[in-house]
């Protein structure tokens, strides 16, 4: 009875409350859409003489950078209602809005000799306002692609809120020839596969190049002497030197610490492989693990405080995390299959890895505690993940099956979307993504 009475009272009062309600209508949006952002990138307006087709070339690179992320969709120029005839002219928002362009990149280019000068603005069409301030970039015509990449980085950053990764380079192992006679050499390229340059010859097998956090040096393993040994190569001068190693041992899988002064690597003595750390300047080394198991592929956390590595101490190949100075390690991978080649994200929130399960290879990511494992790819052979500077994209090597199988580089977003090959003139493997260039 009491309940009924209360219900009656509430029912009587409900209308009064509804009428008495003031303030705005409140709704909550919890479902959205995930689709590329339509962006218009008209050719840069030529200013002065001698600009040639620079405006078009730069605009194309900017468009390819943005659309290559999978987050943007370029509106073809044939759909434009109005053109950007002058950098100083007011934007006809209505025209761009009519073709559903949500962002507009408008710029101008001028060339003087081998000097090129580019300025641009980014507009939020539907808001009818400029996103950020205009920017002007100057350089040589040889570096025009870098200018385009920087423009794309700014656009990407202003729209997504994340730093870009277009003006960055990747060092990798370039591969040519059949599987039974494959020739490998170190190479460096722009993130999109352009401007490939070779750092070593193909006379010796080279493996696992790794950029330093500043991008000025590269560590790699070479079999020049018949034994795997670690080298440090200066990217600018292409000078190299071998790291000190103990006689009769094999060292491989090196990786820089974030401070650039320490290198962690694997050292095999007899049948045992452990992880060691070495100070590059002094050559002093320190043993970080000491178990009879095989432990390799160390990778520092961005703060340099921890190291993730692979080990078969539990009987199968799994991932472990230990303090940077060594000590007790905790296992973080517990899924089915074997885990290897872990790489800590530059953001510090995820660890990428290679997983082998049920005869297939996967590139995946997981939280640093091993939770929320997500497999991003699956193929006959995927391996060697490396993070983009902003931690949003992973590049890896994919090898096809058969005697004519070829290893090529691919990239994929950490959501698993936008899997696409990296256009390199030859095959590639073991990529290492460097930082944004300055």
């Amino acid at each position: 009875m009491m309940v009924r009475v209360l219900c009656l009272i509430l029912m009587c009062l409900a209308p009064a409350w509804a009428v008495a309600q003031n303030g705005p209508l409140r709704i909550e949006i919890t479902e959205g859409v995930i689709e590329p952002l339509p962006v218009a990138i008209p050719d840069l307006v030529p200013e002065g003489t001698g600009t040639g087709d620079w405006g078009q070339r730069i605009a194309r690179v900017v468009a390819e950078d943005l659309t290559g992320t999978g987050l943007f969709r370029e509106i073809p120029s044939s759909a434009f209602i109005s053109q950007v005839s002058s950098f100083a002219a007011p934007v006809q928002y209505a025209d761009w809005k009519a073709i559903n362009a949500q962002a507009l990149v408008a710029g101008a280019v001028s060339v003087n000799g081998n000097q090129i000068n580019v300025k641009f603005r980014l507009y939020d069409v539907f808001s009818g306002a400029e996103l950020g301030d205009g920017l002007q970039l100057a350089g040589t015509t040889d570096g025009w692609r870098r200018i385009a990449h920087k423009i794309a980085d700014v656009v990407y950053s202003r729209i997504t809120g994340e730093t870009g990764y277009f003006d960055s380079r990747v060092v990798f192992v370039s591969e040519t020839g059949p599987k039974d006679d494959r020739r490998k050499r170190l190479a460096i390229m722009d993130y999109d596969g352009a401007n490939v340059q070779y750092l070593t010859g193909s006379e010796a097998i080279v493996l696992a190049p790794r950029f330093s956090s500043s991008g000025d040096r590269v560590l790699y393993t070479s079999y020049e002497t018949g034994f795997p040994r670690i080298y440090v190569l200066d990217v600018g001068s292409v000078q190299r030197r071998v790291l000190e190693s103990q006689q009769g041992t094999m060292s491989f899988a090196p990786r820089f610490a974030p401070n650039g002064q320490t290198v962690v690597y694997s050292l095999t003595q007899g049948a045992n492989t452990d992880i060691w750390a070495m100070n590059i300047a002094s050559g002093q080394s320190q043993r970080l693990t000491s178990t009879p198991a095989i432990e390799t592929a160390p990778s520092f956390s961005p703060d340099g405080g921890q190291i993730v590595f692979e080990s078969d101490r539990s009987g199968t190949q799994q991932l472990y995390v230990m303090p940077a100075g060594g000590g007790e390690a905790r296992r973080i991978s517990f899924g089915e299959g074997r885990y290897g080649t872990p790489v800590w994200s530059p953001r510090g929130d995820l660890i990428a890895f290679t997983k082998q399960s049920k005869g297939r290879f996967h590139i995946g990511v997981m939280r640093t505690d091993g939770s929320e494992e997500r497999l991003l790819t699956a193929s006959f052979l995927d391996e060697g993940p490396t993070w983009s500077p902003n931690g949003r994209v992973i590049m890896f090597a994919r090898e096809t099956q058969g005697a004519a199988g070829r290893s090529t580089l691919y990239s994929v977003d950490i959501t698993g979307r936008n899997l696409r090959p990296v256009r390199t003139p030859e095959g590639g493997s073991d990529p290492s993504w460097g930082p944004l260039q300055r």
């Binding site: 303030g23 949006i29 959205g32 859409v33 590329p36 952002l37 934007v91 808001s127 009818g128």
Partner: protein, 369 residues
């Protein structure tokens, strides 16, 4: 404890009520049982035998009669103590509970069979007038006991309808009830409807239809450019917003009295708005941190369902940095603006309810998609 008490209370109340007013409902069941027990056995049945051209039907009726009288009076007193005293008076019959045990179960199926079958009533037609002229008045019997007060409290939830019934006391009572209740509010106006067009609820607010002019043809770019920037020529970004502002001022300021409040938006109307905004809320280009940020955005609306762009502002944010909140806000702003070329589908008569909207964009579900 409460359940037991409630059951006990209901039982006692039902019993007392039945004892007090049960008599008024005796008319229905009584005839069936009484006819079978007392009438058929003695006079009428014998009278029928000689002239019974239809032995089949008679035998059917006769069969149930035999078990009726003999076992029943003995058995009935046993099950129900309170009913025992009344059972000899045929009263227990009206309630199905008491009926099933005694003779009731047997006669009931027979009655049911008889009803659809035509021949039976023909044979019993002689019997029927003797005992039961009642079958006909069944439906009206429940109305007949009106004067008795008790029925009213039992039917308390339908008091309103009963009032109308009492007024008319005719078979059309139900129709009259609803007619009487619904038009009450409008009755005062309807009474004056013919000659007094100036009724309180002016329909003058409705004329400005919700969206009569969304698809403006591009035929006259210059003249219509101000109203809608889509066409061509002299696009003035500031002008468009000012025009919208003017429209809002006109709606808010100049016609404050005309703003229809209406009832709150229904769940369906809110959902329609939510879906409309959701379809344009593109989080694909948001950073991971922005996808962790919930933003609350407020916006003023024109009466034709379009947002006033300059009034879109970030009210609050949570879960991310200032930069992430700004990114999330810009995505939300694009969502609000992008899908409103023709205006949101909102009821004009409730404009007062949605002239200001506060939207919370929570990307929690969109993070791992």
């Amino acid at each position: 404890m409460n359940t037991g008490q409630v059951i006990s209370g209901i039982g006692h109340a039902g019993l007392i009520g039945w004892m007090l007013f049960g008599g008024s409902f005796q008319s229905e069941p009584l005839p069936f049982e009484v006819t079978e027990v007392s009438v058929i056995s003695s006079d009428a049945f014998e009278a029928l035998l000689p002239g019974g051209p239809t032995p089949d039907t008679v035998t059917d009726v006769a069969l149930p009669v035999e078990p009726e009288v003999i076992p029943d009076p003995v058995e009935t007193p046993v099950p129900d103590e309170s009913v025992e005293v009344e059972t000899p008076e045929p009263t227990p019959a009206p309630e199905p509970e008491t009926v099933p045990e005694p003779p009731a179960p047997e006669p009931e199926p027979e009655v049911a069979d008889d009803a659809p079958v035509q021949p039976a009533p023909q044979d019993q037609a002689v019997v029927a007038p003797e005992v039961s002229p009642n079958p006909v008045p069944r439906p009206s019997e429940r109305v007949a006991p009106e004067p008795v007060a008790p029925p009213a409290p039992e039917a308390a939830p339908d008091e309103v309808q009963q009032d109308a019934v009492t007024e008319s006391e005719t078979g059309e009572s139900q129709v009259e009830e609803q007619e009487a209740t619904a038009p009450e509010e409008a009755a005062t106006e309807i009474v004056t409807e013919a000659e007094e067009p100036s009724g309180a609820p002016t329909a003058s607010l409705r004329p400005p239809a919700r969206r009569p002019s969304p698809p403006v043809q591009t035929a006259e770019p210059e003249s219509e450019a101000e109203a809608e920037p889509e066409p061509t020529q002299t696009a003035e970004p500031a002008d468009t917003s000012e025009d919208v502002n003017d429209a809002l001022r006109e709606a808010l300021g100049g016609a404050e009295q005309e703003i229809p409040q209406g009832p709150p938006l229904s769940a369906g109307e809110k959902d329609a708005l939510r879906v409309a905004v959701s379809n344009c809320w593109n989080v694909g280009s948001l950073s991971s941190e922005a996808l962790q940020t919930t933003v609350v955005v407020t916006v003023d609306m024109t009466q034709d369902g379009k947002p006033v762009v300059p009034t879109i502002r970030l009210a609050s944010s949570s879960g991310g940095s200032q930069a992430a909140a700004q990114q999330a806000f810009e995505a939300a702003r694009r969502a609000i603006i992008r899908c409103t070329r023709d205006g949101y589908d909102l009821p004009v008569e409730k404009y007062g309810q949605w002239k200001e909207i506060e939207m919370t964009f929570n990307p929690e579900r969109m993070r791992i998609k």
